[in-house]
């Protein structure tokens, strides 16, 4: 056969960590110029496989062939010498240096900065990656930072580019721009290994897919032909449950009112909230879309009471001025909050589930005369585990022993279990496996159907369009007026999400 050898072929890869098999006999073949999707739930072994390709981890068994030749990849330098480039989910850029200086550091380049600047401009023109070499990184948006990382990889003329969840920080328009770049690279013969859990993106971009499940190969498919449902079922290894929205309740009284909230961030690179107004009514689900870092953390902190607002009336919970109240007082008014981070914030890793249940439920009758009512706390934790089918060894299981999805189901169960009138949910299904994500969305919709107001902050537009009655966009610390979900589109929301760039340009350009 005259066809060229595959760019990369992995055969029978095995990798064991302490007591778990992270990869067990995994095969993967990426052809020249192919855009190949690597799919799988959290813990399926995607990251391990990628670490092996990039030389961060070494396989315990199996072979790696690069363009037909067996190779061992000792470290990331060896991987780069072969022509493997990688853009990580978390960027490694120095805030206080310029783009060109950052790239020079990453390349270990010997030439002058001026020479490098010319090369950066050349690459950025060729691929339509708008990057200004002289700007300092701390001025850049997340999308711009990602472009810097991509340019850094492209300067090394990679023959295989690995992208780890690249669109999780991008607006839909930015993501479309990225796809253009990747298609162009593919046309020039550079292979792309694309890791994502967003199936619609994979359908739009990739020509081949490898699916992992529990460290093993679950199969492969052509994403252009397979349906999203088929791919999802391959990932979870079973039929996909379907979430459905119960009939919406008639609109009730306002349960959460925010009026003209303006507040400085207390963090050095935080976002100032500007003039935010919002009214959430009983039975409604309002979604707040936006790229992380546009004030989500600050807004949620101000609503949940971790930060007090300057004006007590700026936040009202169930008609009461709550701006000056702490989290406990707001909980007593009927507010619940599912935070963004799970272990360490939403739950304590070394506490058993009983105490993790108590963590925020304590104002609701779990303490008598200063002592914890152990029996009631145990019953509460057992109830959550049963209702949300949380996989745990029991009510005494430590938080750290649960998977991310199961921990999140427990946290959601705890916050819903106190019958809140207002529920704040921050990225409720981020990084959660598909089955748990559907269960969580269903729980939020059921809560709204029972007459509570739900505010969901999420970067996942598909999720917001699925469950919300209204969608607003947070950008640069400003909130757009909520629009009924049926009267808006992903494109319109995406443009509002990107609004931050324009606002920032105005702030800096004088």
């Amino acid at each position: 056969m005259a066809s060229p050898p595959p760019r990369l072929r992995l055969t029978g890869i095995v990798k064991r960590y302490a007591s778990t098999l992270a990869n067990d006999g995994v095969n993967l073949t990426v052809g020249p110029g192919e855009i190949h999707a690597l799919l799988g739930e959290n813990g399926a072994g995607k990251s391990t496989l990628v670490k092996i390709i990039y030389g961060v981890a070494r396989p315990d068994a199996g072979t790696i062939e690069w363009e037909g030749q067996p190779v061992t990849i000792a470290d990331p330098n060896a991987a780069r010498r072969l022509g493997v480039g990688m853009v990580f989910q978390h960027f490694s850029l120095f805030e206080s240096l310029t783009v060109a200086e950052n790239i020079a550091l990453g390349l270990g380049a010997t030439g002058s900065i001026a020479e490098l600047t010319a090369r950066i401009q050349d690459v950025s023109r060729r691929y339509g990656l708008a990057v200004e070499p002289g700007r300092h990184v701390h001025h850049l948006s997340v999308g711009e930072r990602q472009r810097v990382e991509i340019v850094r990889c492209l300067l090394q003329s990679p023959r295989l580019l690995i992208m780890d969840e690249p669109t999780s920080v991008l607006t839909p328009q930015e993501a479309e721009g990225l796809f253009g770049v990747l298609r162009r690279l593919s046309a020039e013969g550079c292979s792309v290994l694309y890791i994502s859990h967003k199936l619609e993106e994979i359908k739009a971009l990739c020509e081949n897919a490898t699916v992992l499940r529990g460290g093993r190969l679950a199969g492969g498919c052509d994403p252009r032909v397979a349906t999203e449902q088929q791919m999802a079922e391959m990932m979870i290894g079973g039929a996909l449950p379907v979430a459905h929205r119960p009939a919406p309740l008639r609109e009730g009284k306002p349960c959460l009112e925010v009026s003209k909230l303006t507040m400085e961030s207390d963090e050095p690179f935080g976002t100032t909230l500007r003039d935010i107004s919002l009214q959430l009514r009983d039975g409604q689900i309002i979604g707040i879309a936006g790229v992380a870092g546009n004030g989500q953390k600050e807004l949620l902190g101000a609503l949940a009471g971790e930060r007090r607002t300057p004006d007590a009336a700026a936040v009202k919970v169930c008609g009461t001025d709550a701006g000056h109240m702490g989290p406990t007082a707001r909980r007593k008014l009927g507010l619940s909050f599912i935070p963004e981070e799970r272990l360490g914030r939403g739950a304590v890793a070394e506490f058993p589930l009983t105490e993790n249940g108590l963590l925020t439920a304590y104002p609701h009758g779990f303490v008598r005369a200063g002592l914890i009512r152990t029996g009631a706390v145990q019953k509460y934790a057992a109830g959550i585990i049963k209702r949300f089918a949380v996989k745990a060894s029991g009510i005494d299981a430590r938080g750290s022993s649960l998977s991310g999805g199961n921990m999140q189901k427990f946290i959601v169960g705890r916050e819903i279990g106190t019958n809140p009138r207002v529920l704040l949910a921050a990225h409720p299904t981020w990084g959660v496996d598909i089955g748990a994500a559907i269960a969580i969305r269903q729980a939020l919709m059921d809560l709204a159907a029972a007459g509570s107001g739900v505010l969901v902050v999420s970067e996942d537009l598909a999720e917001l369009f699925e469950i919300c009655d209204f969608i607003a966009v947070l950008s640069g610390g400003r909130l757009s007026p909520p629009k009924p979900t049926r009267q808006t589109t992903v494109e319109e929301v995406g443009l509002l999400m990107g609004g931050r760039m324009a606002a920032q340009e105005m702030a800096h350009g004088v």
Binding site: A18, E306, P327, T328, E341, R345, A349, F351, Y362
Partner: protein
């Protein structure tokens, strides 16, 4: 042959409690070697150290006497440690408690007031609390680290004690010795066992074990304390104030050390002298960790530490060994404990020869 420390998937629960036992055994081996090197008979030395003090009623009473301040200070320290509030200055709070309570004894003693002893004890507790409140204020107001402030205030407290016994409170009939008058009989704590020095302070110490366990294990305040220590972000999210917890932990810790201080001077000593503690407040830090920050564990650890103090005195008397031996043994115990604690989270794995070579190569690269 190469070995590697490998992180365990989950902490080994057995090692949590095995580690102090292992540390104690290793310390005994270390002590044996130490005696052999010093040219003493190790078997005799171990007998003097560990067995002799327990052979008489008087020895057992002395054991309880020495365990009392250790236990009180260590439980207070442990409560703070659970919130990651590190009180290193129990020795200072102990000293100020002794000064405050002793001051009450000197001022009002000898009049047979019914409130004499409660007032002394209360003054001791308040003195220790006040001394611990200073670092609490510095931490919550200026974010000054309590490890530094509590430790430094210890030296201030010791100077303060030196000042009162050399100056205003010096016994005029004391032949110029730096010491106060003997406390009057009504200002001395009652003894528990006739003809020994074991006083009622031991009962306070014993009571602090279940009370400490109740606070940490069953009360909402204990839950706040543990949450602040284990996950500060989770505590903020739940609405538990870190500053509030600091203001609970340091005063409790200081109050218990102050109680230990007044019990010590109103029990066996009966007067204030420039040195009222052989380092109980510092040894209690070792006791707290040896007891796994758990009140019941601390009870056993305090008895072991008290035995070391007693045995150390015995070594001085019968084998002419220097007092530094006690400190050396304490240090060994803490060192081995910390070393053994590594195995709670790690296991030793022997590397196969091939991987060993590879990892060797990687180190040289």
């Amino acid at each position: 042959m190469a070995y590697r420390l490998e992180a365990r998937a989950r902490p080994a629960q057995a090692m949590v409690w095995l580690s102090p036992v292992l540390a104690a055994v290793l310390s005994v081996i270390g002590i044996t070697i130490l005696f052999a090197v010093l040219g003493r008979n190790p078997v005799q030395a171990l007998q003097v150290l560990f067995i002799a003090p327990l052979e008489t009623l008087d020895g057992l009473a002395e054991l309880g006497l020495k365990a009392t301040p250790l236990l009180l200070c260590a439980i207070g320290i442990a409560i703070g440690c659970r919130a990651e509030v590190w009180n290193i200055g129990a020795e200072g709070q102990f000293t100020v408690g002794a000064i405050a309570g002793g001051g009450v004894a000197l001022a009002f003693g000898g009049n047979d007031y019914w409130w004499m002893q409660p007032a002394m004890l209360l003054a001791g507790v308040l003195g220790g609390m006040a001394w611990a409140a200073i670092p609490a204020l510095l931490k919550t107001r200026f974010n000054a680290h309590e490890i530094l402030t509590t430790l430094m205030l210890t030296y201030v407290a010791i100077q303060l004690l030196g000042y009162v016994v050399h100056g205003p409170w010096k016994d005029p009939q004391g032949y110029s010795f730096p010491q106060t008058k003997q406390f009057a009989a009504d200002a001395m704590l009652p003894m528990l066992i006739e003809d020994t020095r074991l006083h009622v302070g031991a009962l306070f110490a014993l009571a602090s074990v279940p009370l400490g366990a109740l606070l940490l294990g069953r009360s909402m305040m204990g839950f706040r304390i543990r949450t602040v220590g284990a996950a500060p972000a989770a505590a903020r999210y739940a609405g538990f104030s870190r500053n509030g917890v600091v203001w609970v932990c340091l005063p409790i810790s200081g109050g218990m050390a102050g109680l230990a201080g007044i019990c010590e001077v109103a029990g066996p000593d009966g007067q204030l002298t420039p040195v009222i503690s052989p380092g109980y407040g510092f040894a209690a830090i070792i006791v707290a960790f040896l007891g796994r920050l758990n009140p019941f564990g601390i009870l056993f650890a305090s008895l072991l530490m008290a035995l070391l103090y007693l045995g150390g005195e015995g070594l001085q008397l019968t084998m002419q060994l220097p007092i530094a031996v006690t400190g050396t043994i304490q240090g060994m115990l803490l060192f081995f404990l910390l070393a053994a604690d590594v195995f709670i989270n790690y296991r030793v794995r022997k590397l196969p020869p091939r991987a060993a070579a590879a990892s060797g190569a990687a180190t040289h690269a």
